[in-house]
Symmetry: C2
Subunit: 120 residues, 2 copies
């Protein structure tokens, strides 16, 4: 089938903390939000640089049929954000309380890993 990959939805433990992380530190913009009565869930949709692809933060109330105690698990390995100045970026992350937890280099590429408020 023909498909267009448009969104990744992550579960968040707490919406305000995650919104701050993705909008204030990573500079994403909120492009939508809402609540679904049937799931007792709340979602916030974010994008960066108008690529069209969105990150959706999903939060379920404790009385939601979709609520389960948050376990990080392995399904989500990482989310990648390109930055112009990596050293400056992880210094800024560190000052915001999100220190570098891992680093890789390969050829001319460098990756620095920080954990979001959900342990991602």
């Amino acid at each position: 089938m023909k498909t267009k990959f448009v969104t990744v939805g992550i579960r968040v433990k707490d919406l305000p903390t995650s919104i701050r992380f993705y909008t204030q530190l990573l500079n994403m913009k909120i492009v939508g939000r809402g609540k679904l009565k049937e799931t007792r869930g709340e979602w916030v949709e974010l994008t960066s640089e108008n690529t069209g692809f969105t990150l959706e933060l999903n939060y379920y109330e404790k009385n939601s049929p979709y609520y389960v105690e948050y376990q990080l698990g392995e399904a989500l390995d990482h989310l990648t954000f390109k930055v112009d100045d990596l050293d400056k970026a992880f210094e800024e992350a560190k000052l915001s309380g999100y220190p570098m937890i891992d680093e890789h280099k390969s050829g001319t590429s460098r990756w620095v890993y920080v954990e979001d408020p959900n342990g991602i």
Copy 2:
């Protein structure tokens, strides 16, 4: 900091099965792949409709320092793929062995959920 959200990386239990699911059923294209000696990891990068955003399949050998027994967890709620004909799409998924596990409607939108080979 200015960022561009470019990739979501998921952990897969088995590369060939996941590659088949994302390329044959969801029609994504492989745009890169490689192995990292230092992590004993293998990755395959996929895209759909040249949006620039990629899905990265990450596989770690059992002797990799990053290997852990796969637990699905809650961090990754869902990946969203837009299709032209939803009924046809989930019939095709069902025939490929991936039946619908949930469904939602809201306004003029409809979502059908299927599980990938990793339980995502």
